[in-house]
């Protein structure tokens, strides 16, 4: 299934754009033509390594030599007197200064366990608890919007029913509202993370297979260096940092071009994998730094791909949960609770970090290990859906995020 169309056909899911086939009528009637792109990061993003609380007195004690600092070896980028951005995110920093980025910190879904699968289900379903569900909050939000017109642009609405099992639409856009899909021609590189996990499994259970993976994939180097950038070119099955970056950029840039077209879709979703940084996280230089750089490149690609439409755009980057506040025994972080949501776009009232900061002292940590959640992610998403694309309060509380009447939409994010 490699090379030629056949391999490409299979690659549905990660990096694919799934978009609503219509234009929102109500917003159009106000003379606006809003765009919303949701980017789901699978694997749980370390919010503290993305936006570091450098002004928190407990910060250095918490992360030790892994703490991002304003005067570190790779200095973090100051956002305000308290928070600083990971140095790999130059685009985001530039947009922040142009007041086109807002960051919500110490944010989490209502999910308080630590399973990726369940966490992603809650993140995407919009329900308060994991469980059997087959529709996502974004799709249900679309279902409540009145449509002005059908989008004509490619992604073509040619059904993907050529496949035995259809394209794996991310849960967040699954549902009855019609969704089109498009997949970048470039292949997402096989995640080094998957290879490392496999190697770990083989090391414990099957030395012969471990040897093959190590020899054939030239991974000894990666394991030692702990960073994706160390992959000898042409050795690994795909995942050099440059390739990851190129893939993210291509997928996001193309998505933006679709959303920018006058006759294109307006609301879509992408997902990127690889954020489960249990070992050798490399926030300042290493794996997470590479991934954040790739994400930063993707946001830059959305900005340029949108062209003039950027001023009517909101990109919401969300993840299932955060990671442990402290560094674990393998220089990584384990599954945690609160994290960041990154919002970017010309439509945002940006240039600020929005946080009811819980602190990172021993006593402040959730279950003595995680950043405590003080903002419900649903409030952020409800705020965007309400003020940007005009989903009604009632629909938000009952249909989009059922049972969330107590969670008020965050106001003033756009406009």
């Amino acid at each position: 299934m490699l090379h030629a169309p056949s391999r490409r056909e299979l690659l549905l899911g990660s990096g694919s754009l799934f978009a609503w086939a219509y234009l929102p009528k109500l917003a159009l009637a106000e003379g606006r033509d809003p765009r919303l792109l949701v980017i789901v990061l699978r694997g749980a993003l370390d919010g503290l390594a993305t936006v570091a609380p450098v002004g928190d007195p407990d910060w250095i004690r918490l992360r030790g030599d892994k703490a991002l600092l304003l005067d570190g070896a790779t200095p973090a980028l100051p956002l305000d007197s308290f928070f600083a951005l990971n140095p790999a995110m130059a685009n985001l920093y530039r947009l922040y200064q142009a007041k086109q980025v807002a960051i919500v910190h110490a944010v989490a879904t209502p999910y308080r366990e630590r399973s990726h699968f369940d966490g992603q289900d809650v993140l995407e379903s919009g329900l308060a608890k994991p469980g059997a569900v087959d529709t996502g909050w974004l799709n249900r939000a679309l279902g409540t919007l009145e449509a002005a017109d059908r989008a004509q642009a490619k992604p073509t609405n040619k059904p993907q029913n050529a496949f035995a099992v259809g394209p794996v639409t991310p849960l967040v856009v699954r549902g009855s509202a019609p969704v089109m899909s498009w997949t970048p021609p470039r292949l997402p590189p096989a995640a080094d993370d998957t290879v490392m996990r496999l190697l770990d499994l083989y090391n414990h259970t099957d030395p012969q297979l471990a040897r093959v993976i190590q020899e054939r994939m030239g991974l000894a180097a990666i394991a030692k260096a702990g960073g994706m950038g160390q992959t000898p070119p042409g050795k690994a099955p795909g995942g050099g940092a440059a390739q990851v970056r190129a893939y993210f950029e291509e997928a996001a840039g193309a998505a933006a071009k679709f959303l920018a077209r006058p006759d294109g879709p307006r609301i879509g979703a992408l997902s990127f994998d690889g954020w489960d940084t249990h070992a050798d996280e490399g926030a300042a230089s290493g794996r997470l730094s590479s991934l954040l750089g790739a994400l930063d490149g993707a946001i830059g690609a959305v900005e340029s791909g949108m062209g003039d439409a950027w001023k009517e755009t909101v990109v919401a980057v969300i993840t299932e949960f955060g990671r442990t506040a402290r560094i674990n025994g393998t220089e990584g972080t384990d599954h945690g609770t609160a994290t960041v949501a990154l919002l970017a776009g010309g439509a945002l009232k940006g240039g600020r970090v929005i946080a009811d900061w819980p602190g990172v002292s021993e006593a402040a940590l959730y279950e003595k290990r995680d950043l405590k959640a003080t903002t419900d992610l649903r409030a952020v998403l409800k705020g965007l859906l309400k003020d940007h694309v005009r989903v009604s309060d009632k629909a938000l509380a009952s249909v989009v995020f059922p049972g969330s009447a107590d969670i008020k939409p965050m106001t003033g994010l756009v406009g």
């Binding site: 299934m1 490699l2 090379h3 030629a4 056949s6 391999r7 056909e9 299979l10 690659l11 549905l12 899911g13 990660s14 699978r42 694997g43 749980a44 399973s115 990726h116 699968f117 992603q120 050529a162 496949f163 035995a164 099992v165 394209p167 794996v168 639409t169 991310p170 849960l171 096989a190 995640a191 993370d193 998957t194 290879v195 996990r197 496999l198 770990d200 499994l201 083989y202 414990h204 259970t205 099957d206 012969q208 297979l209 093959v212 993976i213 054939r216 994939m217 099955p237 994998d273 690889g274 954020w275 489960d276 249990h278």
Partner: protein, 501 residues
């Protein structure tokens, strides 16, 4: 992995039955096998039409050969017509170019600094041919796809799949290559292998060695007895290829005591075993014994004298080879190696060889003996599934049905086991060493499959359904800790318990 020799409980036996003797579990397979795994496997052999494909739309090898021949003739006629057209157009263009050149030369004389660009432009249209519309796969390729689809449908839909696995084993033992016989590679398996996988080895041997695909693949179709009518007239002669491979690969096995004289004499015996030319509308592409190519006279093979009885002479030698003790040993070793271990226990080989000899090559009895042999269950699960077995097992585990057969064909190309295209008459290797190198490519495929279905399935459920008691705690932990469902699924398909059987 369970590398020890503890007696297996019923559930583990069911899982081993599916992985070692079948194509791996589908949802619910483990439960439906029940407590008697051996009985479940044997029951599959007793089903009517076990190992058969009943699809009346598939062409016989004769029909396929004739269809391919007609197709090639039409293509050839098209090409000739197109060439004539091209040549005509080229002539016109050359004339135009010449005229433009002359014009440019005149202009150049009139006003000095002009170039000859117009002449070059004038010549262009002839060079740039309009792109031809893709005619799609030709007839031979279409037939190949149909046959491939029927084969993989059988494997994907089998309950356990032991009969199908036997088909694959024998098809590889008696392999032909689609590189040489594309339109009939599938028909060969259906016509020469499938009817006999649970029948008699001698019958399979006869069917295989007289099948047009084999006669063409190993060149016997053009082997001519030097003293035959055709041999004397054309001055052409013997081709030993098929005769040698029958002895070395299909029956006795390499270094089992036969001599070069045996090879040469046997090759003479089977001269005249050939194919009716495909252009014959009635029997084209079918087996034909051509007496005029057959070497006259008695021949000695393996110290036994065979009178010249024409076609029957070859059949007599094949029957003797089928009943030869070395053949029993060779087949026994290959079966044990395929199903159990690269270096199978001698007791198992002996047991199978004895059953083969005792039943005069009754393959159903030999297959039963394999399933009932304790060694076949006690052996550690170290054997790497071949790429084709692993691909089918992965699809079964994921609940994927067959949609586009080209996807499977491309997968097998990538993994180094292209369908019906072994590198040599020996077939694809049955040893781990040959397949270990392809592990990174398998990961690639696993990732793609996982991306396709991974978001929709519960990895723990699939682990229960696909591995059940075989899943090690380490594997279960790796799955539960995966960062996404697709990743968990990829890890499952690449887990040692799933790769090995």
């Amino acid at each position: 992995m369970a590398l020890d020799n503890k007696p297996l409980d019923a559930k583990t036996q069911a899982a081993v039955a599916l992985h070692r003797f079948g194509f791996g579990p589908r949802a619910g397979s483990l439960a439906s096998i029940g407590s008697d795994a051996r009985g479940a496997i044997l029951a599959e052999l007793d089903r009517p039409n076990a190992g058969q494909i009943s699809d009346s739309d598939l062409l016989t090898s004769g029909e396929a050969a004739r269809a391919a021949f007609n197709f090639r003739q039409e293509r050839k006629a098209d090409r000739l017509a197109q060439r004539a057209e091209r040549e005509m157009a080229q002539n016109e263009a050359n004339k135009a170019a010449q005229a433009a050149k002359e014009f440019a030369a005149k202009e150049a004389q009139a006003s000095a600094p002009k170039t000859d660009v117009p002449a070059m432009e004038a010549a262009k249209p002839a060079a740039a041919q309009p792109a031809k519309a893709d005619p799609g796969p030709g007839i031979p390729q279409q037939i190949f796809f149909e046959e491939a689809k029927a084969r993989f449908d059988s494997a994907l839909n089998a309950e356990i799949g032991f009969a199908e696995r036997l088909v694959w084993f024998w098809s590889n033992h008696f392999c032909v290559s689609a590189d040489k016989v594309r339109p009939v590679a599938g028909a060969f398996e259906r016509e020469a292998i499938r009817p006999h996988v649970l029948g008699n080895f001698a019958d399979m041997l006869m069917a295989v060695e007289s099948h047009p695909a084999m006669l063409f693949y190993l060149d016997n179709a053009r082997s001519i007895g030097p003293n035959s009518v055709a041999g004397k007239r054309q001055g052409k002669g013997l081709n030993e290829n098929l005769g040698r491979e029958i002895l070395e690969l299909h029956t006795l096995g390499a270094r089992s005591g036969y001599s070069q004289d045996d090879v040469t004499n046997f090759a003479k015996v089977i001269t005249g075993w050939t194919i009716t030319p495909a252009k014959e509308p009635e029997r084209g592409g079918e087996f034909n014994f051509n007496d005029r190519m057959h070497e006259p006279g008695a021949q000695t093979v393996l110290a036994k004298n065979y009178d010249d009885t024409g076609h029957e002479q070859g059949r007599s030698v094949l029957l003797a080879l089928a009943r030869h003790p070395e053949t029993a040993k060779h087949i026994a070793r290959k079966l044990a190696r395929h199903f159990v271990a690269d270096d199978p226990p001698q007791a198992l080989i002996d047991r199978l060889a004895k059953r083969f000899a005792d039943t005069k090559g009754d393959l159903k009895e030999v297959s039963k003996a394999l399933v009932l042999a304790p060694e076949a269950w006690d052996a550690p699960r170290t054997k790497l599934k071949k790429p084709s077995e692993w691909t089918v097992a992965s699809m079964r585990a994921c609940g994927l049905a067959l949609s586009d057969i080209r996807r499977i064909i491309n997968t097998l190309n990538l993994l180094g086991e292209p369908l019906w295209r072994p590198p040599a008459p020996k077939g694809f290797s049955d040893e781990n060493a040959a397949w270990l190198d392809g592990l990174p490519q398998r990961l690639d495929i696993a990732n793609q499959l996982a991306r396709r279905v991974g978001g929709l399935v519960d990895p723990e459920e699939i682990a229960d359904a696909a591995l059940g008691p075989l899943a090690s705690p380490e594997t279960r932990q790796a799955l539960s800790r995966a960062e996404s469902r697709p990743q968990a699924l990829a890890l499952l398909l690449m887990a040692p318990e799933f790769l090995r059987r």
